[in-house]
């Protein structure tokens, strides 16, 4: 994949994640300050389409952003060629998406 395409996708997903991270941090602080238990949190998230979409989007953005980043690190540290790098990036990205969506499903599924 071309360097400029990777660059644009990584920057766009970074931009997208800025507000998502802010909301995510607020949620963490809120849950901690209120002393919410796991059961309290699941009560709020189960069946919530909004939280499901929010975190699914977060997973997608983080997976794309992280996979491109890992590709860059592997290029400099392991000296892999473009084909191998692209393969590594896709595998890493798909693994992140599967793990992330599985976690989202676990907190929103009723």
């Amino acid at each position: 994949m071309s360097a400029v395409r990777l660059y644009v996708w990584q920057r766009l997903t970074a931009l997208l994640m800025v507000p998502l991270i802010v909301v995510h941090l607020i949620v963490i602080i809120y849950a901690t300050n209120r002393g919410l238990s796991a059961a309290d949190i699941l009560d709020r998230t189960r069946g919530s389409v909004a939280w499901g979409l929010f975190y699914a989007l977060f997973v997608a953005a983080a997976s794309i952003h992280g996979a491109i980043g890992v590709r860059g690190v592997a290029r400099e540290w392991l000296g892999l060629r473009d084909t191998a790098l692209d393969r590594l990036m896709w595998i890493f990205g798909v693994v992140l998406v599967v793990l992330g969506l599985r976690a989202v499903y676990a907190v929103v599924a009723t």
């Binding site: 071309s2 360097a3 400029v4 395409r5 990777l6 660059y7 644009v8 920057r11 290029r75 400099e76 540290w77 473009d82």
Partner: protein, 243 residues
């Protein structure tokens, strides 16, 4: 020039090619002495087989760059007093380039990358047409002028961590050259140039460590030029001009 015969400097100089070792010399300390003076003294008075490269001696030609106490410098304009550490100098060939012998690095990969980065002017007019009038005050010309005084010394290339990690990377000087041409309104080679800048050896490798900017003897800022290329390649990609 006053001379203090007793004052000596411990100088260690790289001898050999890729494999080799540092050789110690004791060189008389003089006022206003440059690192190139030191190397020249060694060749003339201690070991005539020492290989090194220089031409103008006044900071114009860019041929005398070497690694001095771990950092790349133009040796003809680097005063010993500015770089000496504990009375010692260690002088080696430029990093990130093959070594021919002793202090002479092989600049071939450096200039090959200028070609790969499309650092060649592509004129919009022939010699039979009148010269185009360019206003020095125009934004494009000022952007080109800010990066144009490069003397091809290779200091930025030797200073660049990313070049060390990614041998494919064009490096700061080649991309800085490309940026001057991107801003040159007389040039017509931008599409090919931006495609080169967006290729796997291009501007997106840069981590913005800014060693090039810190060590450039001409005070240029190749990191800013590379950031400019990142912007322009992104615009070209979004417009569908490059893929």
């Amino acid at each position: 020039m006053s001379t203090t015969a007793e004052a000596m400097i411990d100088v260690r100089v790289w001898r050999g090619g890729e494999e080799g070792e540092y050789q110690a010399f004791s060189v008389p300390r003089r006022d206003s002495q440059t690192v190139l003076d030191i190397v020249t003294w060694i060749q003339r008075h201690a070991d005539p087989t020492l290989a090194y490269r220089f031409a103008c001696r006044v900071g114009v030609c860019g041929s005398c760059a070497m690694t001095v106490n771990g950092r790349p410098r133009w040796t003809c304009r680097t005063h010993v007093s500015k770089v000496i550490e504990d009375g010692r100098l260690e002088i080696g060939p430029l990093a990130n380039l093959p070594v021919i012998r002793d202090l002479a690095a092989d600049m071939t990969p450096f200039f090959d990358k200028w070609q790969k980065a499309e650092g060649t002017f592509v004129p919009s007019r022939t010699r039979h047409e009148p010269l185009e009038t360019i206003s020095p005050d125009s934004a494009e010309r000022q952007a080109a002028d800010a990066a144009i005084e490069c003397i091809n010394c290779g200091v930025c290339y030797a200073a660049c961590d990313t070049v060390r990690w990614s041998p494919e990377y064009f490096g700061p000087a080649a991309l800085n050259r490309a940026w001057t041409l991107v801003n040159d309104v007389r040039d017509t080679g931008n599409l090919k140039r931006l495609a080169a800048a967006a290729s796997s050896g291009g501007c997106h490798n840069c981590h913005s460590h800014q060693s090039c900017e810190q060590l450039c003897p001409k005070g240029l800022n190749p990191t800013a030029s590379i950031a400019g290329l990142k912007r322009r390649t992104m615009q070209a990609y979004i417009r569908g001009e490059i893929s």
